[in-house]
């Protein structure tokens, strides 16, 4: 940088010069030439369109290919209604279970020091790293006719595999990490001081949890539940293994889509698929809103 003090430049001129320099410097910060920038952005847009937008559009196009009446008729089929109902039931069960488990696990991990903590964190992530099909097979191994508990279950006339309990169990296992994963970093960041303050003010453990901890993490809880629900409704692999594909009884929506497609009932298949696609869109929008709230809820006691 050079300074030209001797040059007789009027003040306004030098100010204009300084502005021009500043503008040039700003542009220089984006080092890539304009053509390269446009090419990169275009590539990203094309990729997104082909791999994400196009399939989504196709689902709806196929679903409505024979008109809206055919679409509604396909959804009104008893088999379709049964699948929708089963999916809702299974999602409710597994989301509730994982909400409780996730809260307890995140609470324990974020607020307490104990041996085996790292192991527990790893264990929570296990369902993400194992193929869903294997998750399903584990339950077949446990509860199937040849499985460890198979004989006992048969003797007591309890049906787990090829019934709602098995599907709910498999879905719960696969969606295990969502709530806990959403809460652990949030609770770790918030620390334990507010809880300590509550207890020193005479609050019981439950009062502390419901009056202090839960309000602080409510957006995180909703976020975790949302993602958990999306996955629970969309799960295919694990459920496929334990369901037995009994039509009108143990088919969830994703399973029914596959069956209908294999039977060349494209409108019906895509009609169900369009419901799942809509669930995905709603989830995305809700997720965006929740993320904004999450950012607002960050630490205020630490500045």
């Amino acid at each position: 940088m050079t300074m030209q003090i001797a040059e007789p430049v009027s003040l306004s001129q030098s100010a204009a010069k300084a502005r021009a320099h500043a503008a040039a410097a700003r542009n220089n910060l984006r080092t890539e030439p304009k053509a390269v920038r446009i090419a990169i952005i275009a590539l990203a847009i094309v990729f997104l369109s082909v791999f994400i937008v196009l399939p989504l559009v196709l689902v709806f196009a196929q679903a409505f290919s024979k008109g809206i009446l055919a679409y509604l008729a396909a959804l009104a089929e008893p088999e379709a209604l049964a699948a929708i109902k089963l999916t809702l039931v299974v999602a409710t069960i597994s989301v509730s279970l994982n909400l409780i488990f996730g809260l307890v696990a995140a609470w324990a991990i974020a607020k307490f020091e104990f041996t085996g903590k790292t192991f527990l964190i790893t264990l929570i992530d296990l369902p993400f790293s194992v193929s869903p099909v294997i998750s399903g097979l584990v339950f077949v191994l446990l509860f199937g006719a040849q499985g460890y508990f198979g004989g006992w279950l048969r003797d007591h006339d309890i049906q787990i595999l090829f019934a709602v309990p098995g599907i709910a169990l498999a879905t719960t296992f696969v969606t295990f990490p969502f709530v806990a994963r959403a809460l652990i970093p949030l609770m770790q960041e918030q620390g334990t001081q507010e809880e300590e303050a509550a207890i020193s003010l005479g609050a019981s453990g439950l009062q502390t949890f419901f009056r202090v901890t839960l309000p602080n993490i409510k957006w995180g809880v909703l976020y975790g539940v949302l993602l958990c629900n999306a996955r629970a409704m969309g799960e295919f692999g694990a459920v496929s293994v334990v369901s037995g594909h009994i039509r009108g009884e143990t088919n969830t929506m994703p399973l029914l889509v596959e069956i209908l497609y294999n039977e060349y009932q494209f409108v019906a298949a895509f009609a169900i698929a369009s419901l799942l696609a809509m669930l995905a869109l709603i989830t995305l929008i809700a997720k965006t809103i929740l993320e904004r709230h999450l950012d607002e809820g960050h630490d205020i006691n630490d500045d």
Binding site: A197, A198, S200, G202, A203
Partner: protein, 345 residues
């Protein structure tokens, strides 16, 4: 309420946060725990509050075993360094919290709670902030709300962890005065933790100086300043010139130079000599126990902060009065008005 702590030990892994601490706090006292970070002062405070548990030792309130009770039953007001206000509650609800979570049998009715919270907000002079949220307050305001919240449960003891640590210097000074007058008003036995000696000396009735999990000295602010019990206390409180000396048979040596200072009753061996910066009197060369060349002078309010290279190699900083101008290059004699010598541990 008196607090008695006996032989408290607390280890985090192999690190001893508290290494055998004995302390007695009198009723109505305002006591400061002073020490560098890692000296165990916060750990001691948290154990008294019931937020941490010692590995061994006893804590008694009015002679009653406090360790038998959890934090919830001890009825201790705790003010956290980072305030720990409930971020989703208004200022009013923060202060009311302790009253609202009381067991139903003793819980006051809504009107009484409102009146009490109003009183407390008046006490901390922030009644106009009742509807705000913690994120909308300044640091000093948050700290006063945290104090009002702690006082709401009419605590038997008030504990404050670095209460002014996160505030800027001006607010800190104001709050110090304010805390003193508040304590005068409500007279609850209080302990506060600080690493700021000025804060401890100015606010507290008694000061406990801690280092490495042990208590070095307990005394009034004057005592710990004027008659430090250990080398650590002398070095930590007030600004001192610190010189490594050798004591042998009633003679004090700095390097190979013999110092003309009394050494009665001192044990022989490597020792540390402490002189307050302003206790070094400047005279003509050859007039004092030390001699040195002025390196650098900065005028610092009422004093000249002067760097002197002693003949013997070490460079020290002293505060000389402004009545006689010193210049770099001058050779001067230095005589300690008062000094203390501690044998090396």
């Amino acid at each position: 309420m008196t607090i008695e702590v006996r032989n408290l030990v607390k280890k985090f892994g192999s690190f001893a946060a508290l290494d055998g601490v004995d302390l007695k706090v009198n009723d109505g006292e305002l006591l400061a725990l002073l020490g560098p970070s890692g000296s165990g002062k916060t750990t001691l405070l948290r154990i008294i509050a019931g937020l941490d548990w010692p590995d061994s030792g006893e804590v008694a309130f009015n002679g009653e075993d406090a360790l038998a009770q959890g934090a919830r039953e001890r009825h201790v007001g705790f003010v956290f360094q980072h305030y720990a206000l409930f971020r989703h509650m208004s200022v009013f609800e923060n202060v009311a919290f302790g009253l609202r979570v009381q067991p139903r049998a003793v819980r006051k009715d809504e009107a009484t709670i409102r009146r009490r919270v109003k009183e407390l907000l008046d006490l901390v002079q922030l009644d106009w902030l009742a509807d705000r949220y913690p994120s909308q307050l300044s640091g000093g305001q948050r700290q006063r709300i945290a104090l009002a919240r702690a006082l709401a449960i009419e605590p038997r003891i008030l504990l404050l962890d670095e209460p002014f640590g996160a505030l800027d210097a001006k607010v800190r000074k104001e709050l110090r005065k304010w805390l003193r007058s508040l304590h005068h008003e409500i007279h609850v036995t209080s302990i506060f933790v600080t690493h700021d000696q000025e804060e401890a000396l100015e606010v507290a009735n008694r000061v406990v100086v801690m280092d490495k999990g042990r208590i070095e000295q307990i005394g009034s602010p004057d005592e710990v300043y004027e008659t430090p019990a250990t080398a650590f206390v002398h070095g930590f409180i007030g600004e001192s010139v610190e010189l490594a000396v050798q004591v042998e048979g009633g003679v004090i040596r700095l390097g190979d130079r013999q110092l003309n200072l009394a050494a009665d009753g001192l044990a022989s061996g490597a020792s540390k000599l402490f002189v307050r910066r302003h206790d070094m009197l400047v005279g003509p060369p050859g007039s004092g126990a030390f001699e040195g060349a002025v390196q650098h002078v900065r005028n610092f309010g009422p004093v000249q902060r002067t760097e002197v290279a002693l003949s013997g190699g070490e460079t020290i900083e002293i505060d000389a009065p402004r009545d006689r101008e010193l210049r770099a290059g001058d050779t001067i004699g230095l005589e300690p008005r008062r000094y203390r010598i501690f044998a090396n541990a």
